[in-house]
């Protein structure tokens, strides 16, 4: 059984209340940090833990905190990113629903470390029930003296507010989130300046994912060294994986980073294998934005070694044969799933969610969706495949925010790894309307890497 740091007490009845949470050791990290540590100590501890942002980009959290500008006379802000909208990801909703005080505790410690006196949790608007849960939990914490003026008599003041979004995936991007929190359209800002210098209300701001903030609690409680003992290499600690798709036991799992992908899919401790005895065809490992991989490439590296659930191992092989850990949205496809249809679905998503500010993304996402739609509905052309790859290439890297890349990668990777299936949709258009391409060779063992003789 892997060690759990965030979800250890998730099944304790009443853990969503202050009383039970506290009884199980809750808010110890606040006491420890505020009473015995300086703000620099906390930042240093988080740095030492090796914690990397759990929102998708994997940027070291401690480092991000140390970049925060501290000009005289300007407030600083911490904003928690609970916009969770990346298809395949549902860990933040889970955590907030069941153990909201963990997030609040993390927010207090992190705000203290950053010197923020007002912090916000930006929750996607659709999560109204979670907003109510958080508001109730904040009121409880405040009543117990963990929020508000002079917390625990330490002289530290903090107000924590929940802000609802309005229904826009792009508001997960940190500068769009800040715009949205300022009551504007969620158009990502053009960087620089970065939020660390000029973010919310033009003040220095840190934006962190729910899980990153929650992970600060065990780091402070048990110490950075304990935390860093878990995991593998530069992927320290544990990670919440949202597992969905055609598996026996979909749900949120806390894994120690470094678990083999194969074990994650097939062991009863996690996904429990494929549902209905079907075979594995493909996996999107880190939320819809990361490249999709066929069964053989997700399980093994091209060297023949096992692929592991870690930032590095999943990325091994780069675009050619790798993917990314991203937000940990692990979507499993069985042999009966149609990759063309799914790619079209994802392209539709990005088209729908593009903010429309910059031309390659605004126009390119719609173009890709239309081409994929026609491929899926039996009137595609072979040349469409190269067209899609080219359009994806024209978007990638040329946009204001990474949504452009996020829209391009799923399309480019699907065509890269499942080209036969796309071609079959063109050559057997009628048949493709009636049945799926199936597993084909996508789970075949990888060919042995040829050893190139040194000359």
């Amino acid at each position: 059984m892997g060690r759990k740091l965030l979800l250890e007490n998730i099944n304790v009845p009443g853990i969503n209340t202050f009383e039970v949470y506290r009884k199980h050791g809750g808010y110890r990290a606040v006491e420890k940090a505020l009473k015995t540590m300086s703000t620099e100590d906390v930042v240093e501890e988080v740095k030492k833990s090796g914690l990397r942002g759990r929102g998708g980009a994997g940027f070291p959290t401690g480092m991000k905190w140390s970049f925060l500008a501290k000009p005289e006379g300007k407030p600083r802000y911490l904003v928690c990113n609970a916009d969770e909208s990346e298809p395949g990801t549902f860990k933040d909703r889970y955590l907030i629903t069941h153990i909201p005080h963990l997030l609040i505790e993390g927010m207090i410690v992190a705000s203290y470390a950053l010197g923020a006196k007002t912090s916000y949790i930006y929750v996607r608007g659709e999560m109204m029930p979670q907003i109510r849960i958080l508001e109730r939990a904040i009121a409880e914490a405040k009543a117990e003296g963990f929020l508000g003026k002079n917390i625990l008599g330490t002289g530290y003041d903090l107000e924590l507010y929940v802000q609802p979004g309005g229904g826009a995936y792009i508001c997960g991007e940190e500068t769009a989130l800040i715009e949205s929190l300022e009551g504007k359209r969620g158009n990502p800002r053009i960087k620089p300046p970065f939020p660390a210098i000029s973010g919310l209300y033009n003040c220095p701001t840190v934006v962190n994912n729910v899980e990153s903030i929650a992970a600060v609690v065990p780091i402070i409680n048990d110490g950075a060294d304990e935390y860093a003992k878990l995991g593998i290499g530069r992927s320290t600690g544990t990670k919440l994986i949202s597992a969905s798709g055609n598996i026996k036991n979909p749900g949120v799992y806390e894994i120690e980073l470094g678990v083999p992908v194969e074990e994650f899919i097939y062991s009863d401790e996690y996904c429990g294998g494929m549902a209905n005895g079907k075979r594995l065809k493909a996996v999107v490992a880190g939320g819809s934005s990361v490249p999709i991989l066929p069964a053989n490439l997700i399980l093994k590296l091209t060297t023949g070694e096992n692929r592991l659930m870690s930032y590095e191992s999943l990325a091994e092989g780069a675009f050619a044969s790798g993917t990314m850990l991203g937000s940990g949205g692990f979507v499993v496809f069985d042999e009966d799933q149609c990759i063309v249809r799914n790619t079209w679905n994802f392209a539709r998503f990005y088209h729908h969610e593009s903010c429309g500010q910059c031309s390659p993304c605004r126009e390119g996402t719609g173009w890709m969706e239309k081409v994929l739609h026609r491929l899926e509905y039996g009137h595609g052309k072979l040349s469409d495949l190269d067209l899609l790859v080219d359009v994806a290439k024209k978007i990638e890297g040329n946009t204001i925010c990474p949504l452009g890349d996020a829209a391009a990668w799923p399309v480019a990777s699907a065509i890269r790894h499942f080209r036969d299936e796309f071609e079959w949709h063109v050559s057997h258009a009628e048949e493709a309307m009636g049945r799926n391409y199936g597993l084909a060779h996508y789970a075949d063992p990888l060919p042995k890497a040829e050893t190139v003789a040194a000359n």
């Binding site: 826009a168 088209h351 729908h352 429309g356 605004r362 290439k393 024209k394 040329n398």
Partner: protein, 335 residues
Amino acid sequence: MSERVKVTIDGISIEVDAGTTILNAARLIGGDIVPPAMCYYSKLEGSGGKCRTCLVKVSKGSDKDPRPMPKLIASCRTGVMDGMEVQNITSPEVMEARKGIVEMLLINHPLDCPICDQAGECKLQDLSYEHGSEATRYEFERRTFDKIDIGDKIQLHMTRCILCYRCVYVADQLTDQREHGILGRGDAAEISTYIEKAIDNDFSGNVIDVCPVGALTDKTFRFKNRVWFTKPVDAHCDCDKCSGKVTLWYKGEEVLRVTARKDVNGEVESFICNTCRFERKNTSEWTIEGPRKISHHSVISSNHYELLDPPAVIRKNPALKEANIEEFERVTRHY
């Protein structure tokens, strides 16, 4: 005196004030190496960064940190650093990306140039001549909108809009009550007034001049005409609202329309008021200064276009040739 920094663009070096953007540094150099800008407008705060036509490659970040930037960047929103080296038309990567962006801008554009008022002074038309490919690869229905009137002086032809946001900035920064804005999201976004409210304000007419395409046009433009058949003349008047410095567009003896004067970058020299623009259409109301020089870049003066690609440009221009000897040799070796 503010600090000066040195930047090199396509092999040509210049010293500029620290904080200058790459685009403005390039404009100081001038000529072919200036990246095209469809959304940036130096007189509108916050503009730029959106259209992506001005993307360039930073091959050396600065003397201090010489690493190249990993991605192409928007030259209109990126400041120069001392020792920075930038490639615009000498980078095949930039030219390829720009071609892609122009294609994107055109896929939903009606390409109704023959009937568009802006034809001849449209930045998008210029761009597509320079960077577009001949045939479109877009085989779907184009997005269309109905034409609407914004008040009795301005017409909005949203179908042509490229969502550069310039007109929104004008309304925000030049007028006290912005009535129009961007509604919707993604490629369903549109410039609109939501409920048909007239834009009525002394300086609202400037949206026409800043619009890079023919989306916002002057309804008082008499006897619609191709601009290249009209004769531009600089004139001024004693106006209590604006500088009164304008360009009058004549056909024969008649003033067809009044616009602000545009500089070499296609930007207005100074914004003008609605009275000058819409009401003063008699020669007698103006002091004529003389014929307007039209920049060599415009279709109005050249009437035709050659395809520009980096080697061709370098081949023609001795300064660039000199500055890019290596590059030039590499691309001409095959000829």
